[in-house]
Symmetry: C2
Subunit: 151 residues, 2 copies
């Protein structure tokens, strides 16, 4: 019941990108330095993010990545799904016909009353947090720290 590191890194990298981009592309090496991640690994993550239409890339020297949409239009759900695939708490095959009725009823019961509800609840959360929300929260923390520095 864990989120993969790939997703964690991806989310960090995207908030970082949103906070540092200013409409220009940013090379992965800068994100990697700030977030203490391996460039190679980040490349794999951004390949998925690009396929999902969350970022777009500029190739060649001075190239990099930028958001493909406004941060307010990218949800955490979009990001998680683009890296982990569709949110699905359990991977139970749909009860086949060879299965007894007793078992089928049980699976149905638990699916409807537990796994389904957990999944909906998670979706409800992640589909209502945007990259803009996170970016703003991050900047608040950041500014507070700078103020501390000058006291």
């Amino acid at each position: 019941m864990k989120i993969s590191t790939k997703t964690r890194y991806g989310l960090r990298a995207l908030v970082d990108l949103a906070a540092h981009s200013a409409g220009e592309q940013v090379a992965l090496i800068h994100i990697a330095k700030r977030q203490d991640l391996s460039v190679n690994y980040l490349e794999q993550v951004f390949s998925l993010l690009k396929k999902a239409g969350i970022v777009r890339s500029v190739k060649g020297a001075q190239g990099g990545y930028m958001l493909a949409k406004e941060p307010a239009k990218i949800t955490v759900g979009d990001i998680i799904r683009s890296i982990e695939g569709e949110i699905c708490i359990v991977d139970e095959e749909p009860p086949s016909d060879s299965v007894s009725l007793v078992l089928k009823n049980m699976q149905q019961c638990i699916w409807d009353n537990v796994w389904q509800k957990m999944t909906e609840s998670v979706r409800e959360v992640i589909d209502h947090i945007t990259l803009e929300d996170l970016m703003k929260e991050y900047q608040v923390l950041h500014i507070d720290d700078n103020i501390m520095y000058y006291i």
Copy 2:
């Protein structure tokens, strides 16, 4: 982001036990037959459930397992935790001091605004479904099927 099969089996087995127990102990072999599970594997699951005080056992011939509390006092959260350990969406170490401030802020931001909220939301769901709820829902399905049979 998946629930382990061990937990899925455990939940099925417990609803089955609750529905078939009638205050008496039930041998795992019966549960295993109805739910199409291996007895050996179920034993491992029930060992955890017992440790957590969810079931208690009667050893020897004609022995078996029974619920240690009323079904209304056992939540799905209890069951999941007893098998998977504490619910924790990500395993991020608390940001050590060697980490840069920029990174620490980012981790804090995402923890508070994403992982924390997801975790709370999941807990909210699983801590409010009881074994009694599931047992009743299951019996409804079961009865409906029997009615169908007689039409």
